[in-house]
Point group: C2
Chain length 415, copies 2
């Protein structure tokens, strides 16, 4: 695994403080999953069973830990989460299943839970058999060390080629009580919608049932983690889990069993915003990224078409290398619209970079100024706007540029 050479220039300037959430404690440590002396495991421990919901990779070859979580979710009750980096426990066959079972049993025994209350995620190399022993041996120490204020340590423990820990927090009213939402994520390559080598874990004290959490999460992910792409590659291991300790009930927060409950409105908005924040941080730490790119598509026939067009632009190596080269090459945007396969009215197409309209009605804008466009491309955030002229549907996705550093990072990852 290549060491992170320097922090992404697109990283947030400050890390927000993460207020502790009643009912959950965190610890991180160096278990030696793959390398010695490197923090590579985190646990979250719930004092009482938390409600839980999840969204996973759509890969047809998911990891053993993804299979494990999907099965556990039918109960929707969590006592612990254990996450390791260094090994993805993917494509490891029966041995991989044995590893997830061994880890779940060990932690369940140590905290007095049942294995189906244990959630797991793994990130790292695919196809290497994963020995459960390093994690199992580290459990006692982690459990003893777990504290409510250690979520940032946990965020650091799950980094692989990430150059900064990704955290976000929100405080919002639920009924008359204040509730907290904290989230962490890790990227940074193999990121594509549906979802990516992307792990993200969200914790709240809002008393919300598992089915209601699932509805909130499934909706929220569409405009956040499923609207980002770094390199169009989708991992075997993508996992997004949300846990609720429900501890805010003791402070008067109402128990919510229906995602459509009007009392949830503020919570839903805050959760959606937090998911977008975390997803954008993943892109901001895209491997080799130097520029953050927002692609806005309008005028499409359907929302699905709009998103496909936006992703065709965001995944185009030629568009991404042009952004890296600070080249206002909107011809490549036309190419990407054309290759998406979705309806677009070539002779009505509008394209803009930021506020500069560069193409209008299927031709270069008469007011196009190469100098202005080139100046705009020097910014660190680039907004590519396209109106395809056939309808009213819109979509927004985020990506980064494609640089030589991406090649350097990925041409020498395993060694």
């Amino acid at each position: 695994m290549a060491a992170a050479v320097s922090i992404s220039p697109l990283a947030p300037k400050t890390l927000p403080a993460l207020p502790p959430i009643d009912g959950v404690r965190f610890a991180a440590g160096a278990a030696g999953v793959r390398y010695r002396g490197r923090t590579d495991v985190m646990v979250a421990l719930f004092d009482r069973p938390a409600t839980v919901a999840g969204v996973f990779t759509r890969s047809k070859c998911p990891s053993a830990t993804v299979d494990w979580c999907r099965a556990a979710l039918s109960d929707g009750r969590a006592r612990a989460l254990v996450v390791n980096s260094g090994n993805a426990n993917a494509f490891t066959g029966a041995a991989g299943v044995a590893t997830t079972t061994a880890v779940a049993k060990a932690i369940a025994k140590a905290i007095g839970a049942t294995p189906n209350e244990i959630y797991q995620a793994s990130t790292g190399v695919i196809g290497e058999p994963m020995d459960p022993a390093p994690i199992v041996n580290a459990l006692d120490g982690l459990i003893a060390a777990a504290k409510p204020d250690r979520l940032l340590d946990a965020a650091r423990a799950i980094m692989t080629t990430d150059t900064f820990p990704k955290v976000a927090t929100a405080r919002v009213k639920l009924g008359d009580a204040e509730v907290t939402i904290n989230g962490i994520a890790k990227g940074a390559g193999m990121i594509a919608p549906d979802m990516a080598t992307m792990l993200s874990f969200v914790f709240t004290d809002a008393p919300i049932t598992a089915p209601a959490l699932q509805t909130l999460l499934s909706k929220g992910v569409e405009r956040s983690f499923n609207a980002i792409t770094v390199d169009s590659d989708t991992s075997t291991s993508d996992t997004l889990l949300i846990f609720s300790t429900g501890a805010a009930a003791a402070r008067g927060a109402p128990a919510i069993a229906d995602a459509a409950d009007p009392r949830l409105a503020a919570f839903r908005r805050a959760l959606d915003k937090l998911l977008v924040d975390l997803a954008q941080q993943v892109v901001r730490d895209g491997e080799g990224a130097r520029k953050f790119v927002e692609v806005r598509v309008a005028g499409a026939a359907t929302r699905r078409a709009a998103k496909r067009i936006a992703l065709a632009i965001a995944n185009s190596p030629l568009v991404k290398t042009a952004v890296a080269g600070e080249d206002a090459n909107w011809g490549r945007v036309v190419m990407a619209v054309g290759k998406s396969g979705e309806r677009a009215e070539r002779d009505k197409l509008d394209i803009s970079f930021g506020d500069l309209r560069v193409a209008h009605a299927g031709q270069r804008d008469p007011d196009y100024s190469e100098a202005e466009a080139s100046a705009y491309m020097k910014k660190s955030k680039i907004v590519i706007g396209v109106n395809v002229g056939v309808g009213t549907a819109t979509a927004k996705v985020w990506t980064c540029d494609l640089t030589k550093e991406y090649i350097a990072i990925n041409g020498d990852y395993r060694s």
Copy 2:
């Protein structure tokens, strides 16, 4: 347009001699479409009307020249082909249509043909209005200079970021007569199936009707130009045309009106092979390519599924950077199979690099040797084999690695 710095290490060692074909003459010249003093236009002139067939980009935003050729093909009769580099005449609106009309009229007038007998293709920058004058002004000189033995000059004239001209030739029996097939192509980025910034022109003296040629070409393209990818980007301008002068009829070749005519068997095989040869040359000149990659998928549910899986592997930036880094990272092949969305039996998956089976039945092969695999990855041709374990369908596609040179070429193309 970045100057070619050096010839691709994957280029064929020798250029075959292209025997002249009766009834067609070629010329190339420097018209100044975009730059002065650079060969940027070629013409092919047919002494009598040739039959013609074509396959084009599936882009929803095709260039004006693609629209022009599609319309002309309804007559299936050609007197001239004119091709320019420097400007793609794409996304140029009504002005682009006016340009193709002006060029067609000018050449038709000069040679005594009708505009619908003129075929055109353009490659280069998208979205720049294209003035017909440089081409129109060059026509008289080109027509005067055209000779049957100038096809290699024509191949050179249509290069953009190509580092070598792509030519292929075959001689085959049709009835009792020998017929010739010559082809040229240009790449080298924005190459993806269906098709790419890919221009290719094939010429033969075999007397075959336009509808029969169309059937041969549409079939042949599936396993050649539609089975290659450099960067997954599809151009607005892809054009593959085949022209037959029919001159071999004078030497006794039978006139063929049906692509299923058994007398065509040898011709069909030769044409298919020539198309594969040209398509592979395009990949061998993929921007920044250092390695040629063949992806073979077996055991898929359908041929379509097999091809989608093969393309998911061939288009994966993580697979391609691993090849560039000479890293036998078969975990990324698993990832790509998983992201293809096609059925695959994770626990039956076999993966090989060349003759080395690296994964078997959903796990690392027990005999896997990292040293052997690493040694294999140093070769300049890499064969990635995958059996997905659900059926019997197969597919083969070709691509190249993804290197820092790709970024360098595409991060600074327009300037």
